[in-house]
Subunit: 128 residues, 6 copies
Amino acid sequence: MKLIEYADANAEVRAVYDDIMTKRKTDYINNFWKALAHDPATLKRTWESIQQVMGAGELDPLIKELLYIAVSVTNGCEYCIASHTASARVKGMSEGMFGELMAVVGMANETNRLVAGYRVPVDERFKD
Amino acid sequence: MKLIEYADANAEVRAVYDDIMTKRKTDYINNFWKALAHDPATLKRTWESIQQVMGAGELDPLIKELLYIAVSVTNGCEYCIASHTASARVKGMSEGMFGELMAVVGMANETNRLVAGYRVPVDERFKD
Amino acid sequence: MKLIEYADANAEVRAVYDDIMTKRKTDYINNFWKALAHDPATLKRTWESIQQVMGAGELDPLIKELLYIAVSVTNGCEYCIASHTASARVKGMSEGMFGELMAVVGMANETNRLVAGYRVPVDERFKD
Amino acid sequence: MKLIEYADANAEVRAVYDDIMTKRKTDYINNFWKALAHDPATLKRTWESIQQVMGAGELDPLIKELLYIAVSVTNGCEYCIASHTASARVKGMSEGMFGELMAVVGMANETNRLVAGYRVPVDERFKD
Amino acid sequence: MKLIEYADANAEVRAVYDDIMTKRKTDYINNFWKALAHDPATLKRTWESIQQVMGAGELDPLIKELLYIAVSVTNGCEYCIASHTASARVKGMSEGMFGELMAVVGMANETNRLVAGYRVPVDERFKD
Amino acid sequence: MKLIEYADANAEVRAVYDDIMTKRKTDYINNFWKALAHDPATLKRTWESIQQVMGAGELDPLIKELLYIAVSVTNGCEYCIASHTASARVKGMSEGMFGELMAVVGMANETNRLVAGYRVPVDERFKD
């Protein structure tokens, strides 16, 4: 799967690349975007959605990165773990925070399975 | 899978139930623990691990609940989603925070798959 | 999704039902087969494969049931957990064995994620 | 993610490394432990849990390794498959046993999905 | 999780509900949208993305529904399987097509795991 | 895991290899089959099942390849994605079709999780 560099990109793709570089204050485009560039519509939609979803809100952008990592680890997505661990560090994730994140993710995966195996019924009080 | 009530529990199980009720300041034991009580060693180990992992550290206990939910949603564990959503609310999760949590979890699951499908190679700069 | 009862089944489906009842020495057909009966080719292929795979070999049929449960718990398949837990009990699974099975499955799911999150490289000695 | 070698480890980590080498009668520490060493609390807890869970009980340690592999294959954890396949071989897993293990894991993953897709209701007799 | 009915929805949510009803030529709103309505931004973004992604293109809308079901079955999402199976039927999915879809999904899940367990290296010819 | 080449294969394995080469009009055997050859019974059963499942029926073989990819991406199986993407291209998958496939797979994975997190109840009308 060839990555599409700026020089080889069409106008629609370049517009997204330009927006990424401007908003992120960088001249580097991640491989993820260079791969999605094969489908400009998905590239554009994903970039717009990411900005809407990952920006500051009631949850801090760092917390959102940690949540992203939690999902990516559970799905075993190596690329996503690598890139979002880097992003989280830039946003302030310490080694201690990473360790606690991993511990929670590991524990949740363990207890999710114990619940399934023991077929635990949802408590009445958790039903709504 | 029968749930083991306090009245029917052996001494080892009761000791864990007592500890849960004391530390959580409640007289209610979740179905999860009543199911695990079939295997007292796993009950005890899991309760001890949960306390070590989910307590306050560099990450706030509320953030840990959000991470737990992120994993449970990704694994589709209904019980875990229901019980930890309740816990997160008790610890201060607002409706807005829940909405943002879901949006991040959904987006991460989407992009995890896009990465896999497009077989995106890890950027050199994310390799260590 | 309607279940197909013997009385409503065509000859191809009945032949499989008859074979199941004969080989399993029972007059009960599990819902799984009654659902697959919507696609007789898949019903037949699956029944033949199950017999080849789950029968005695170098691994005991009980061990194979435990492996089946381990997978089903990891995938969160409630039906499969329920039916194969029942089968495993018939084949001799004790409460203690079930508890150990769950503990291993939980632990493996936890460490699988720790490995992913910490991006642990495969040791040279495990490479072949 | 740098692996932490014995020479660079703190006292808490060295204590675990020493215990692993003593109990396993080896001077080799797997990369898994060297990665977890970034978080000594998780390293210690995981090592203690592994010993409790994977040791001899009503299930043989070899069977527990097979269960571990079944989960790891279902989760697609390459490291875990490689390291536990090696462990299982040391404990007596033959080529024939490995082949049967894979066949069961493959079949269970297939039927788990058939059950989901056909939305098979749990048989009354499997409900408790 | 309370579903938000039209009568209780705010203007932003009603605008999406109106658009769904108009474009789908129905007065029925699926529970999915009524649940997402708790987060109007996610509701709007998801509805817009769904239209962009699931509409006619080089792939027929029916084929897209089949792909949706394949993913939902693999993830074990009961709601998604139920609702998209219904949609697929409306778009022309026959019983035979559904049976073939399930057979492929089952087989792919089986071989995905065989590949993982046997640690099959990607053939040189499939590398780009 | 050593791949078994034709020259080193026993008669049972060679018979399958010969059949693959004849039916696929090629002299190339994929690594997948060379790995499965460690277990001739699974090799034979899988090859026969693949032919039954992936051949022309009410669904076109190309559509079946797309479904296979959808599952493999959801499971994160790199080998399967690589080999079936190649097969799909041979059968006529265009770049545009691949882009739409990825968009649907990504979206389905996202909404599957939103459904789980919001605990959306199945609509009455989708219950049968």
